[in-house]
Symmetry: C2
DNA sequence: GCTTATTTCATACTTTAGTATGAGTTCTTT
DNA sequence: AAAGAACTCATACTAAAGTATGAAATAAGC
């Protein structure tokens, strides 16, 4: 705040004495307050917003999840049962059970609900 | 952009002719660019961030979830089994089953995974 | 104080989820 | 073309999850 007032006075003095061009002084003032506007806005917004987590496709490969297994994981996350997933993907429920088992194994989860949480923590599912 | 340049020229002219005080012109410039800084920043941040959804406690009451039932819902959401929730809350697994059934009924969910999704959509659980 | 809602628990049951194993098929990569 | 990975499916389990019902104890509101 004090620095701002000082800048203010210096600007006034500089223009009065004619040491610098008026354009330069105005440009500096503009730039400084432009920066201040960005800074303040950033602080306010950071309290009310959080960054969107992008899906980490490299981590999916790292974990060893196959394309189909990840697909099943996504369906689990939206709350579908094995039967419903089977119908949606046009395969048998047994096939889905196999995929689910593999997903749980690879995510080190005991249950599908835990798998969802782990997957979100690993950023392979949107939160 | 053109408006900015115009403002720039007007400021220069005003100071040169001495029609207004230097302080006023500088203050206007400062305010305008401060505002521009905020505007630009807001647009950029809105692309990379999303607002945090606050928990809607009124909706919890509206749905008719009791304190204990909501507590159980939260534990479900972090991926715990009925047994684990029972141990955590120092009650029997049968009690948890009763609570879970009531939660599913009130949220109109068929499964706990679906309940999690519905609860998040209703903003009674953090996403 | 009385009523009502909440919390607790049990028993018995049905349904879904998850494991283990084996095996045939397709797709890919060398 | 052969090898390996991925996808499919079945059978037979075990383990959880979820339903239905009834009931007792406690807490809260009138």
């Amino acid at each position: 705040m004090l620095a701002l007032l000082a800048l203010f006075q210096i600007s006034k003095y500089t223009i009065a004495t004619g040491n610098s061009s008026v354009e330069t002084v105005i440009a500096i003032i503009a730039l400084v307050f432009f920066g201040i506007g960005i800074m303040i806005n950033k602080r306010i917004l950071h309290k009310d917003q959080k960054p969107i987590q992008e899906i980490d496709y490299n981590k999916i490969k790292e974990i060893g999840l196959s394309k189909r297994e990840y697909e099943v994981l996504c369906e689990i996350a939206i709350g579908l049962s094995n039967k419903e997933i089977a119908e949606k993907l046009f395969v048998s429920e047994n096939t889905i059970k196999t995929h689910v088992s593999n997903v749980l194994l690879k995510l080190d989860a005991k249950r599908r609900t835990q798998a969802i949480q782990i997957a979100k923590k690993l950023q392979i599912l949107e939160q």
